[in-house]
Symmetry: C2
Subunit: 230 residues, 2 copies
């Protein structure tokens, strides 16, 4: 397949974030003609059980649906899997159990890019399910880095509005203000740890270095999918 | 599946056009939360044999690969199929034969939107395979509308640059100039009949009404995928 392993995208959480991920993957491939691109299979499934409700014990686990999607993508031909949704990584073990050895972990990719910056305190802009599952906290704490939560009462309503298609000036300004507040609390790096966040918050808008988890996943997937030259 | 049939996208021709199509599909769904979106399966396959080479008799037919992709998407669960590539519609019959009754035709969708404008002469901005197969010409001629070709010596190199990721000012200006030239030749409507074209040519840039075949396909697919209320 011309230098690439086929990529499978466990998507739809939300659909706009998946489309954003695919567009970035195309650019990151750095190809100059169609045939130099990787093959990409996408399953954009907006019916995956709600991650926040599941984390609160108010709904079914998304794990079985994610495992089924992973198996379906592999059956199609995917050789490397990615899931552009931070919160859903709370159930990444269900994917790893279903299709061992193929999953590129978004949290690991974003933490690796964060640690390069050698911070001692990092702000996490994420939804409740990501914060409550300590997806970033535990990985950062293991290297002695403190993680500071965003104000979820601010961020969750913004993410809901972005999912409804509102990426306008008011939403952007509120997200920038939240980044500024975290910087005021002493964080040296902010992780955009929800795939809807980079749709309204770019690096230039943050007073401290911003690690975009979606961008980190794109880079990690491209690296994993590229076959070494013979 | 919450009011929607699952959509399958026969993509990768080119990959950026497929990502653009998916992003537009998400917006057009008009959903306000994840679970109100349709499920979308994408097979972005940049290894489909080259359409221009096949049309010129210099390469294998893309038909068998497109039929295999269509069957794979239907096996995944797709109930409505779309292919965001005009030129590949020269082999749409291979898809219809493989999975009867599911394919939403992009050329038919764009021609229907064109005829609403009641033109007598229409400009077609497309690559050679689309022009040579008379995909638009024959449908328009059947309703008494004359189709005027773009200058393929201008458009093909622009499409090649767009596929290589160049959507900069020079490419945009050259595409706008080609639209102006067609308008100067008396066309009353222009069809952006290559999925790379709307990546650099928007309606406001054309001196006459522009029918964007990608947008027409998005609307047709959304209409076909929406289940009537019970």
């Amino acid at each position: 397949m011309a230098g690439w392993r086929a990529i499978g995208v466990i998507g739809g959480m939300g659909p706009a974030a998946t489309a954003d991920f695919l567009a970035r993957l195309v650019i990151a491939a750095g190809a100059t003609r169609d045939s130099d691109h990787p093959r990409v299979f996408v399953d954009s499934n907006p019916q995956v059980p709600d991650r926040n409700a599941a984390r609160l014990g108010q709904g079914p686990s998304p794990g079985p649906a994610l495992a089924t999607m992973a198996r379906g993508l592999v059956a199609q031909g995917a050789e490397v899997l990615a899931m552009p949704c931070n919160a859903a990584h709370g159930w990444a073990d269900d994917i790893r159990a279903a299709v061992p050895g193929l999953f590129v972990d978004m949290i690991a990719a974003a933490v690796a890019e964060t640690l390069v910056l050698r911070p001692s305190r990092v702000g996490i802009i994420a939804v409740g399910a990501t914060l409550d599952a300590r997806l970033y906290h535990d990985r950062l704490a293991a290297t002695g880095v403190e993680a500071l939560d965003c104000d979820r009462a601010v961020v969750q309503p913004l993410v809901t509005r972005i999912k409804a298609g509102d990426t306008g000036g008011e939403v952007r300004a509120a997200m920038v203000a939240e980044a500024a507040r975290l910087a005021g609390d002493g964080v040296e790096v902010i992780i955009a740890a929800c795939t809807e966040v980079p749709l309204v918050l770019r690096a230039g808008d943050s007073p401290v270095p911003l690690v975009d988890a979606t961008a980190a996943l794109v880079r990690a997937v491209i690296a994993a999918a590229r076959r070494p030259a013979a």
